[in-house]
């Protein structure tokens, strides 16, 4: 690990691309174009083949994690973990030509990728990243970011993230994503060139800012409500599960004391000695079996955590919709007030009390020319506003259509995944029970020989 220290710096330099070699460059250009083309064609044009081409053509895995030290932008010493992403590209259907590509990425780059995806695909429930810091863990697991167990679990989480993006019908065709997998150097610059940060709606970040929407879409309101509830129930579940794991750990480990005391006791017993001694051994086995059991359970917790973060992604879509609705309503309101003004000017009647009305009364009527000019300006603005409203309406409808399609897809995925998770959890419990029965049966056998 230590000798790898200078490595990342060199590799991250744009100039030192040579370790990747030529085959990669060829692949990159070939598939890259395809990806580019797919995106340009727009969502409507994608054929089924193209929808899934990532999955068909590339196998992705995050196969290794490595601790590294380097210098950050401020030239400060920092330690981080880099993850090795391996992609196997199956160019031909018969799978003859298999190209393997691998490159290192760190967590912050994954974050950048996800932020980019969030901005460019607001109507999509973007798959979440694994947690940055260990949360909801039972006491035995350390919350240290460099802890090997944590790094390993994060490695699995990151791989899962890449697979989720790659299997997403729309996200998989993104060029930046493709470059993330294939182009080690210069990637950050490429992302920044897209100017996604400018596009990012700063209002989205203001978490608690509520915009009063007059006509909220009922479906999105419900969805927002659901994601709030889901988030709270899963986080509650994870908290309690961590405590359950803690207690279970205690129960097993205290049994380990029997191992010691039985063995000590056996020393003073004649007939009972052997039975006690070997029963003590089984108690030791029992106590140590909990480590593996809880490690397996941690995987289940990670599956739940993914959906905890998915709830946040779901909320982001809802919020985006809310903002669009808000913009739409604001535009409509603006238009309506302008229309009213125009009408007042044309008819000369003031329906509502206004400052303008007062000035008119105080300082006398405007000249007809002035009035004509103002009406003209207003009419132009109204025209513009109507156009804008129309496009916003169109945009909104488009958004709702796309977002809802993705939400439906997400729901299906969620039901499927969680059922799988529950099954694997039940299987884990079953295997734990079987282990318990086995150990106690062995112990009983020993006791019966006493």
């Amino acid at each position: 690990m230590e000798q790898a220290v200078p490595d990342p710096e060199r590799r991250l330099q744009p100039a030192t691309l040579e370790p990747l070699g030529h085959p990669d460059a060829g692949l990159e250009s070939a598939v890259g174009e395809e990806a580019e083309g797919a995106r340009d064609e727009g969502p409507g044009d994608g054929t089924m083949m193209e929808n899934n081409f990532w999955l068909k053509k590339i196998e992705i895995s995050v196969s290794e994690a490595e601790k590294r030290t380097g210098r950050n932008a401020m030239n400060m010493q920092e330690t981080y973990t880099a993850y090795l992403i391996e992609t196997r590209s199956v160019e031909h259907i018969d799978g003859q030509s298999v190209l393997t590509d691998s490159l290192w990425r760190r967590y912050s780059e994954f974050e950048l990728l996800r932020n980019y995806l969030l901005v460019y695909y607001p109507h999509i429930v973007v798959p979440p990243l694994p947690e940055k810091r260990a949360e909801f863990v039972w006491h035995k697991l350390s919350a240290d970011n460099m802890d090997p167990d944590f790094v390993e679990r994060r490695r699995i989480g990151l791989e899962n993230f890449l697979l989720r993006v790659a299997s997403h019908p729309i996200l998989c065709r993104d060029k930046i994503f493709y470059l993330f997998l294939t182009q080690e150097g210069n990637w950050k610059e490429t992302v920044n060139e897209t100017g996604f940060q400018l596009k990012a709606d700063s209002r989205l970040k203001a978490l608690n800012a509520t915009f009063r929407v007059k006509n909220p879409d009922k479906r999105f309101t419900e969805l927002k409500h659901y994601s709030d509830e889901l988030q709270s129930v899963i986080s509650h579940l994870l908290r309690v599960r961590a405590r359950v794991a803690d207690r279970l750990y205690g129960v097993y480990k205290v049994h380990g004391n029997y191992g010691r005391v039985f063995s000590e006791w056996s020393a003073i017993e004649k007939e009972m000695g052997d039975g006690l001694q070997s029963a003590g051994h089984h108690m030791d086995v029992y106590a140590s079996s909990i480590d593996d059991i809880l490690e397996d359970e941690e995987h289940y917790a990670d599956q739940l955590k993914e959906y905890l973060f998915y709830a946040e992604a779901l909320r982001a879509v809802c919020r985006k919709h809310e903002l669009m609705q808000y913009d739409l309503e604001m535009a409509a309101q603006d238009l309506a007030s302008k229309k009213q003004q125009c009408e007042e000017l044309a008819t000369g009647t003031v329906r509502t009390f206004s400052l303008k009305g007062m000035t008119t009364k105080l300082f006398g009527q405007e000249t007809p020319e002035q009035r004509e000019a103002r009406i003209k300006v207003l009419e132009e603005q109204i025209n513009e506003g109507e156009q804008q409203l129309k496009s916003k309406n169109q945009e909104g409808r488009e958004f709702v259509k796309n977002a809802w399609a993705d939400i439906e897809r997400f729901k299906e995925q969620k039901n499927h995944d969680l059922k799988e998770a529950l099954i694997s959890y039940a299987v884990m419990q079953i295997s734990m029970c079987k282990k318990g029965i086995q150990v106690w049966t062995n112990a009983k056998e020993c006791f019966s020989k006493m």
Binding site: H236, V244, R247, M272, K419, I423, C433, G436, I437, T441
Partner: protein
């Protein structure tokens, strides 16, 4: 030498019975063989050395009256133990004390219907030990240090014997166990652990709360069923409170100082405030009291103790309690007169080993007790979390459509697991901990008996030393020193036999206890396994249907 050699005759006969009947029956058999072999030559009466060295069985007293009864009783596999194991040397003071006890007991018995042995010994039996073997010792007791006529004694001993053993005048005959076999079979029950035959059954149940103006207390019903002749009725049912048990134990300790008396449950089980009238407390105590009586019942000597009999049968125990009061102080004196600070010249290795064993044993049991309590505590905390964990899945299921059923299933499953866990902790609290506690108390009891034995040995050694100083003047070892030696040897023999019994029952109890613990855990896991396995199809079906 005179009195002891005479007494050796019936003693040896009884030991022949021992050899025949008990040898295979119990853990003490080995010891009995030793005794039997040792005493057998004494029948010749001409070998004084034999008499001096193996007088252990001669000095029967307290068990006397019962033995008489048992001899007649068809089921008597236990009675032989008595003669072999339970011996108490009749020092002048204690013998007279004992005779008083028997006198009291005798009166009581007369009231209920005197045993056959009594008429033969005449009015004396009211004061003396009516035991045939103890005939001589009772004579001794009555006469103090005076030497009774050997002829008379011998004759009486034989006379007693004939009366007592109706199935052929020869006690050595194997006819007795044979004739008892039918009844023996009938009475052999499940709790017949080590092949010993049960002819006395005692159960403690039906606790009742009594509220008086002065105090509130719990009484327990004690039901006795027996075929033993000492019991006039086949069945008794009395109510006793904890105090009465305490009285019984004190009496047993007093009257059988050489035996290991099983422990009573602690007066207050847990430090601090415990609701003495709570259902759990009363039930735990009931079980412990039941165990206490069962242990006495199973003991070949203690079960024949007259105080035990009184405890099981007397309508008004308080009358008996008052009777004992005056004597209590005297017994105390007799124990106290042994100087405590005396250092033993040679503590037999085996007793030193027992002492060491008990120290470690108590230590280890204490640790196990703590571990068991800690496990229960952890399990209860685990249970608390599980109780919260399950419902979260229910809450979640309310949000979902398709997932609702699987989540509800998981919730129910966790609920089932917590119920199973609760049962496990309850079982462990009720069944596991009390047994551990009993054995911790047991080791204390044993330590105190060991201490008593050391005192007796100290007394003997002190006397021996005193004699050694005057050896030139009197070459013959005085009788009281000899008695003292007897006493020590009897004590050793009793204790060894009890230790062996205890070791046996300990082994069985712990085997049962630990297997029970394993069983409970297996059951718990099986219940959980069933619960989890039952929801798998629920989860999978949905998956396929989709």
């Amino acid at each position: 030498m005179g009195p002891s050699s005479k007494s050796a005759i019936p003693a040896s006969r009884e030991n022949q019975i021992n050899g025949c009947v008990v040898s295979a029956a119990s853990g003490i058999s080995r010891f009995l063989h030793e005794c039997g072999n040792g005493v057998l030559p004494a029948t010749s009466q001409e070998d004084p050395s034999c008499c001096a060295n193996h007088r252990i069985p001669k000095c029967q007293h307290n068990e006397g009256p019962y033995l008489a009864g048992v001899g007649r009783s068809p089921v008597f596999s236990k009675s032989p133990h008595l003669s072999g194991v339970c011996a108490q040397p009749p020092t002048g003071q204690e013998a007279s004390l004992d005779s008083r006890w028997t006198a009291a007991e005798g009166r009581e018995r007369t009231a209920g219907g005197p045993p056959k042995a009594l008429p033969s010994t005449g009015p004396q039996s009211l004061r003396d030990m009516p035991h045939p073997l103890a005939g001589s010792s009772s004579e001794e007791a009555v006469g103090g240090d005076s030497t009774p006529s050997p002829d008379l004694l011998t004759a009486r001993s034989f006379g007693d014997k004939d009366l007592i053993l109706p199935n052929g005048g020869t006690p050595a005959g194997p006819a007795s166990p044979a004739s008892s076999s039918s009844l023996l079979n009938r009475l052999q029950l499940d709790d017949d652990i080590d092949g010993e035959t049960r002819d006395l059954f005692v159960t403690v149940d039906d606790p009742k709360k009594h509220v008086c103006t002065m105090e509130t207390y719990i009484t327990y019903r004690i039901t006795t069923k027996s075929t033993r002749v000492e019991f006039d009725l086949p069945e008794y049912s009395v109510r006793r409170r904890y105090q009465d048990f305490d009285w019984l134990r004190n009496k047993l300790e007093e009257s059988q100082p050489t035996h290991l008396i099983p422990p009573l449950p602690e007066k207050f089980v847990v430090k601090g405030v415990v609701d003495r009238f709570s259902e759990e407390f009363v039930e735990t105590r009931r079980k412990a009291l039941d165990k206490f009586l069962k242990r006495i019942t199973d003991h070949p000597v203690l079960s024949f103790n007259e105080h035990f009999n009184v405890f099981l049968t007397a309508k008004d125990l308080n009358a008996h309690k008052k009777q004992g009061m005056a004597l209590l102080t005297r017994v105390g004196e007799s124990v106290k007169h042994v100087t405590g600070g005396y250092k033993l010249r040679s503590r037999p290795l085996e007793f030193a080993a027992i002492g060491e064993y008990l120290d470690t044993f108590a230590l280890k049991l204490g640790t196990i007790d703590r571990i068991a309590q800690r496990i229960i505590k952890e399990e209860i905390e685990y249970l608390v979390e599980l109780r919260e964990y399950g419902p979260v899945y229910s809450t979640w299921s309310a949000l979902e459509g398709e997932l609702a059923e699987p989540l509800e299933g998981v919730s129910a499953c966790i609920g089932n697991c917590s119920t199973a866990l609760e049962e496990l902790t309850e079982d462990m609290t009720e069944d596991f901990l009390p047994v551990l506690r009993e054995y911790i108390l047991y080791s204390d009891c044993m330590k105190s008996v060991l201490k008593k034995r050391d005192q007796v040995q100290a007394e003997y050694e002190a006397k021996l030393e005193a004699v050694a100083l005057r050896k030139e003047e009197r070459p013959k070892v005085p009788a009281n020193v000899e008695k003292c030696q007897d006493r020590m040897e009897c004590f050793n023999a009793d204790l060894k036999a009890d230790m062996e019994r205890w070791q046996n029952s300990k082994r069985q109890d712990f085997r049962q206890l630990l297997m029970g613990m394993a069983d409970k855990n297996i059951q718990y896991y099986e219940k959980c396994l069933m619960a989890w396995e039952s929801i798998i199809p629920l989860l999978q079906e949905k998956q396929e249907a989709k």
